[in-house]
Homo-oligomer: 163 residues x 2
DNA sequence: CTTGACCTGTTATGATATTACATACATAGA
DNA sequence: TCTATGTATGTAATATCATAACAGGTCAAG
């Protein structure tokens, strides 16, 4: 169990170095637990995503990897990203065709994403109530939901303040 | 006002010819009202989308158009689709990079999409409660939502029944 | 019947993503 | 230790999705 069960949102001021380091530590625990390998490329991709609370395209990640001596073909990035998403270490933002590090690694969560259209920061919000509401609507139609994508575009607190 | 303010979901049995014809009639009213033109390409694209309650990729639509003598370059399809989305006659399904005809043309609505992973049918569900719940979560973080995308993947009633 | 706005078409290119296959690495069992 | 096996990485080639820029056509207001 962690001492930080509810880390603040990406919008809030925080010690980002600690936030990123903590995420990596958790990622190592998670992967070890699952019996899968957090290889150098995978780990590096997670680190890259953790540098900022933004979503990065696969090709952005790829460029970074290539510059550091990893392979420079798309599958290198896509495979690492897929691995991270599959193990809950990162999320795919459909609206942006991009990826962002999970800010709640190791915690059961079903996030909604809040995407600032001004600064591109992506935060995870609690989506359980929204999902429950949707579940209701769907059930009324006889539809069995398996996976839900909830993404909102708008303005983060900082960008609302700025003119 | 229509005699069918609450058409059934795409999953329900319905007279599809009537459903599609009705949608076109409404589309004509909407565009006339807005002072924009439902030109042949645009109208034809809407008809194509209305043929089934599925999402079609821009290039699928384009192929149909080209076969019918319209232009065969991507912008032809993208522009018509953009027009339809802009005027609420169709929706973009982010998850599929595809488009589907709106089943509630002319009604104020903020839909969630239910996508059957088996038969690919797309239905619109009521998303107002889910949006309200999300609005709550977002407000707590100081985030001002402008647009929300809600898409669920799962099994439609028919495909649940089938083994 | 001209003008201006908008629509359609085309070329070209950019951005995102996957398939297929070859090579290298880790590790468990002989 | 050796080697077989599964898994990971690297590369080439290609598929899929999307937009920019510009030329020509259509239509309706003046």
């Amino acid at each position: 169990m962690s001492a930080h069960p509810h880390p603040g949102p990406a919008f809030a001021q925080h010690n980002h170095a600690h936030c990123a380091h903590d995420a990596l530590t958790r990622a190592e625990a998670i992967t070890k637990e699952a019996g899968v390998r957090l290889t150098p490329v995978r780990r590096r991709v997670l680190e890259i995503l953790l540098e900022e609370h933004k979503a990065l395209g696969a090709y952005d990640v790829l460029a970074r990897l290539a510059a550091e001596g990893f392979g420079n073909q798309p599958p290198v990035a896509y495979r690492a990203l897929e691995f991270l998403v599959e193990h809950g270490l990162a999320h795919r933002i459909q609206r942006l065709n991009a990826f962002t590090a999970c800010t709640h690694i190791g915690q059961a969560h079903a996030p909604a994403f809040l995407i600032c259209r001004s600064c591109a920061t992506v935060a995870e919000a609690e989506a359980a109530p929204a999902r429950a509401a949707l579940e209701q609507s769907a059930a009324a139609l006889g539809f069995a939901i398996e996976r839900t994508t909830i993404e909102a575009l708008g303005l983060c607190p900082a960008c609302r303040g700025a003119t």
